[in-house]
């Protein structure tokens, strides 16, 4: 091409510049804003070392990854059956990853080889397994991880696609394992990393079905009839009424950009996720690679997730809700961000 240009240069300078312009345009168009051309990492990329994944409990998120080439990432999860409060008066026998609902947040990078060891506590009554939606492979890993109490299973997968993915137990009957709280999130950062923000938090919505009414006293049994009818008693963020409100509200400051990684474990309900007193400036719709902007309420499918960002601009308490609003008012589907800082009267001003 260059040689052709050299020849053309002397005879037809116009043609040369046209050719140059066309070729430049061709190369420039390869780098599109949505990054779709980079959406799949190469499976034969050499791994440059082994790291152990930092696992966190909600609402905390592991620190942004600093490595820029694919690694082998060691992930160890333990399934634990545990009685915990679900509301002020009620307790429930939760089945968990890591002793909490939702389970640990896992953060890896596109192209990583993820090495998963699943241990089932010897005190468990049930067998458990794991299906990670980030896995392309039989049952998302559940085929390799049917784990009896006291035993350990092991498998690896290559995380070729970026996104925020749900993981959950997939031992039969799957709906019961999910209904008891066995879900969490795994973030596969795109190759360039997630853009930097000031704060990141982890929320996961779930619906719960009990024989007793909402906040009835004592240990509550699972109600299969209500679960089949998709009529929950509790719709909660992070597995407990008031888990993330009042003194447990997520802190933020005026001027900061806050990103929320929000999953929906279900088992049944879709969430209409809304921030009262705020607007989502960026929504990674369904936690995929497309970005929507300036959204009031976004849907989180059951067994799906979303990533939203907001700019904190006034001091306020932001109520994060499922806007199927009876769930927020009467069944517990509220979390809060408490924003502190200077007032901004040109943006919002109460008048006498």
């Amino acid at each position: 091409m260059l040689q052709k240009s050299k020849v053309l240069r002397f005879r037809h300078p116009g043609l040369f510049y046209l050719a140059l312009f066309i070729s430049l345009t061709f190369f420039a168009s390869c780098k599109t804003g949505s990054g779709n051309d980079n959406a799949e990492a190469k499976i034969d990329t050499v791994l440059t070392g082994t790291v152990t994944a930092e696992l966190t409990n909600a609402p905390n998120v592991p620190k942004p990854l600093t490595y820029t080439s694919p690694k082998k990432v060691m992930v160890q999860l333990e399934t634990i059956e545990k009685v915990m409060p679900i509301s002020d008066s009620s307790t429930y026998t939760f089945w968990t990853f890591g002793g909490h609902v939702p389970g640990n947040f896992i953060r890896v990078r596109q192209g990583d080889l993820v090495d998963v060891t699943l241990k089932n506590s010897p005190d468990s009554k049930m067998s458990h397994s794991i299906d990670l939606h980030a896995v392309i492979g039989p049952d998302g890993g559940a085929d390799a991880t049917s784990t009896a109490p006291g035993q350990t299973t092991h498998f690896q997968f290559r995380a070729l696609h970026p996104g925020l993915f749900v993981y959950h137990c997939a031992t039969g009957p799957v709906p019961l394992h999910i209904a008891n709280g066995m879900y969490g999130l795994i973030l596969v950062e795109p190759q360039g990393g997630m853009p930097k923000v000031d704060r990141e938090y982890y929320l996961m919505q779930g619906d719960f079905y009990t024989k007793g009414k909402y906040d009835a006293k004592g240990l509550q049994d699972f109600d299969e009839d209500k679960a089949l009818a998709e009529n929950p008693d509790y719709v909660l963020f992070n597995g407990r009424v008031r888990s993330t409100t009042g003194p447990n509200a997520l802190p933020a400051k005026v001027g900061e950009t806050v990103r929320l990684y929000v999953g929906n474990g279900g088992p049944n309900l879709v969430s209409s996720f809304h921030a009262i007193g705020q607007i989502f400036t960026k929504v990674y719709t369904e936690a995929g690679s497309e970005i929507n902007r300036d959204v009031q309420t976004t849907l989180i499918p059951s067994g799906g997730a979303t990533i939203v960002e907001m700019k904190m601009q006034v001091p306020e308490v932001i109520n994060l809700v499922d806007h199927s609003i009876f769930r927020a008012f009467n069944k517990g589907a509220i979390a809060q961000i408490k924003v502190t800082g200077d007032e901004n009267p040109s943006l919002y001003k109460k008048l006498k």
Binding site: K125, S127, D143, A148, A170, V174, F222, E224
Partner: protein
């Protein structure tokens, strides 16, 4: 003099009575489960209702005390001597030592023995001239109508037990319900080994073999379950499917069966 004699006699009698009570709790007695049919939980084209001929079954699960007699007579099955191939590192971990269940305490003598592998259970059954029940036999026996469980259905009762955490100390046998066959605690105490504990799982390699794919118990493949809302049975089969023969688990024991 008479007063002392009376006291001695009463004491002796109460000793005898309590010893007698222990014998009644775990007597190794077997009951007859009459013939019936079993509809396999996973239904495929090959599987139909299975006829199950009548058989005998242990009235209760095998207890710690009964299992102690077994290891006394069979040193190769003592905790410190057992082959790792036949029982993993959790074998009898709830016992104080090879030949001591809980030291001087008798509190779990009559509780079901747990932390025993399938191989160990098989060996015990053979020692007693018995065998382990098949899944079909066990399921037929377990579906026997309960005598007074205080729940609206047996499924409800079972699910309630399954979704409560394991107890730190297992209650003794006969502490839950009895069913129409005279069997105690078929549900509500422990999981129980069966002879063919995972024969319902097909090969996971599904290259061109659709029949095996359908048989795959994995939850996503629940297509061929006869009653999908029977969560209690589903949990039991999932548990069985995760087992290997040398596993020793703190909620898993066994009882024996015998042909008529």
């Amino acid at each position: 003099m008479v007063k002392w004699l009376t006291i001695i006699m009463i004491t002796a009698f109460s000793f005898a009575a309590s010893a007698q009570k222990k014998a009644v709790i775990s007597s190794g007695k077997m009951v007859v489960v009459s013939s019936g049919s079993y509809l396999p939980f996973f239904v495929t084209q090959n599987n139909k209702t299975l006829p199950v001929p009548a058989f005998q079954m242990d009235e209760t699960a095998v207890t710690n005390a009964e299992y102690l007699e077994f290891v006394k007579a069979n040193p190769q099955w003592r905790r410190s001597k057992v082959y790792r191939l036949f029982a993993d590192t959790n074998y009898l971990r709830h016992w104080k030592s090879d030949l001591s269940i809980n030291g001087t305490k008798k509190d779990i003598d009559n509780s079901p023995v747990v932390n025993v592998s399938w191989f160990a259970a098989e060996a015990y059954a053979k020692w007693k001239n018995k065998r382990l029940p098949t899944i079909a036999e066990w399921e037929l026996a377990a579906k026997g109508t309960p005598k007074n469980i205080g729940r609206k259905s047996l499924t409800d009762y079972i699910l309630d037990w399954y979704t409560k955490p394991n107890l730190a100390k297992l209650p003794h046998v006969k502490s839950t319900y009895q069913n129409q066959y005279g069997l105690y605690d078929m549900n509500g105490l422990i999981w129980e080994w069966t002879f063919n504990f995972n024969s319902f799982i097909g090969s996971r390699d599904s290259r061109g073999n659709n029949e095996d794919e359908l048989k795959n118990f994995c939850a996503g493949g629940a297509l061929n379950v006869a009653d999908k809302s029977d969560y209690a049975t589903f949990l039991r089969f999932s548990f069985r499917g995760s087992l290997k023969g040398n596993y020793c688990i703190s909620g898993l024991g066994f009882r024996c069966a015998k042909d008529l």
